[in-house]
């Protein structure tokens, strides 16, 4: 196993080559991986298909990522490094509505489709599950928790509000529509969730 000192900041293989990696190239390859996964799922994704989509050679991919799993984990990690927009409107109602509307829009694109494709794999790929939880899920939860925390400091959120449970049900309601029922993740839904469920539990 590679130690931390052998690893570049972006992955274990970066430091092994003599010249700096082309970061924008990596980004294009990750984007291609995301798109291919959104279209065909994790199992059917191949390094060939990712290379073709990114107009790159297969060797370029393998120089950077050892395996499909390695590429998908890095793509998942990287997604979470692109900060989600974090509104600070001055009210919990405004922050929740703006964040969840934006997040719902984000999920209806390739990221949501790729996430859905990954879900069935999580029980079979512990490393992937760990990355998915530690980055993709943890990031959403952290934004929601900061929104609720600011609300508590402003006195909008009751001190005994079930904050952790509110974070879970907000995420759960979105994911159920996205991945299970296929019902629209639109503004009407987000407004109903915020006004009908989240605010009554918090304030």
């Amino acid at each position: 196993m590679a130690t931390a000192s052998e690893q570049g900041p972006l992955g274990p293989r970066a430091a092994q080559r003599g010249r700096p990696r082309d970061v924008s190239r990596d980004e294009a390859l990750r984007q291609a991986a995301l798109e291919v996964m959104a279209e065909v799922g994790y199992r059917a994704l191949t390094m060939d298909a990712v290379a073709t989509r990114a107009k790159a050679g297969k060797a370029t991919i393998y120089r950077r990522w050892e395996s499909k799993l390695d590429l998908v984990i890095d793509t998942t990690n990287h997604l979470a490094s692109q900060r989600l927009p974090e509104p600070d409107t001055g009210s919990v109602a405004g922050d929740l509505t703006e964040f969840l509307t934006g997040f719902a829009r984000f999920l209806t694109g390739p990221v949501g489709k790729a996430a859905q494709a990954l879900v069935g794999e999580l029980p079979h790929e512990p490393e992937l599950a760990e990355a998915f939880r530690a980055t993709f899920l943890a990031q959403q939860d952290a934004v929601l928790e900061r929104i609720l925390d600011r609300g508590r400091r402003r006195g909008e959120v009751r001190p005994d509000a079930p904050v952790r449970m509110v974070v879970e049900v907000a995420g759960g309601a979105l994911v159920r529509r996205l991945m299970l029922t296929g019902q629209p993740l639109d503004e009407t839904f987000v407004n109903g969730l915020v006004r009908g469920v989240l605010l009554p539990l918090l304030t």
Copy 2:
């Protein structure tokens, strides 16, 4: 496409053969399909693996189901014909706690694992998505709606309670733990969900 009159009650091929099907044999094959799907996922499931698991010949399976998709859709439909336990304790708190505890236990077994394996396929298999939604999901929602309806008739549930949203967040919270975070679906969680979220929204 077969018309309704050409179809037996349990599937399109049943009426095409001259002798009655062995229903317990079908059930064993569906159970085998569920277990194989829970273990390896939908993509990796093969008719061979299902036959081996059920100690049946491959021809036996193909006489009954035309394809893997046909078998999995029928298994999904059949799951929903096994009624979920529907408690009638006399209170919404009791009914919700008992139903969700039992349902959480049900989901932590092979059914939940098979459902998780299917989720990534739903965007690619519209017929499967339709079956999954019309049976597996609709059944849970129907039980929850009847529980809330009885509560409303008893005067426990406010007339303006966001009943439909409560059904969505209850299901969403369970599915997020089951499929995404991997956190336990235990009594502590169900009690927190019922007391901290569902009852305050309803009563």
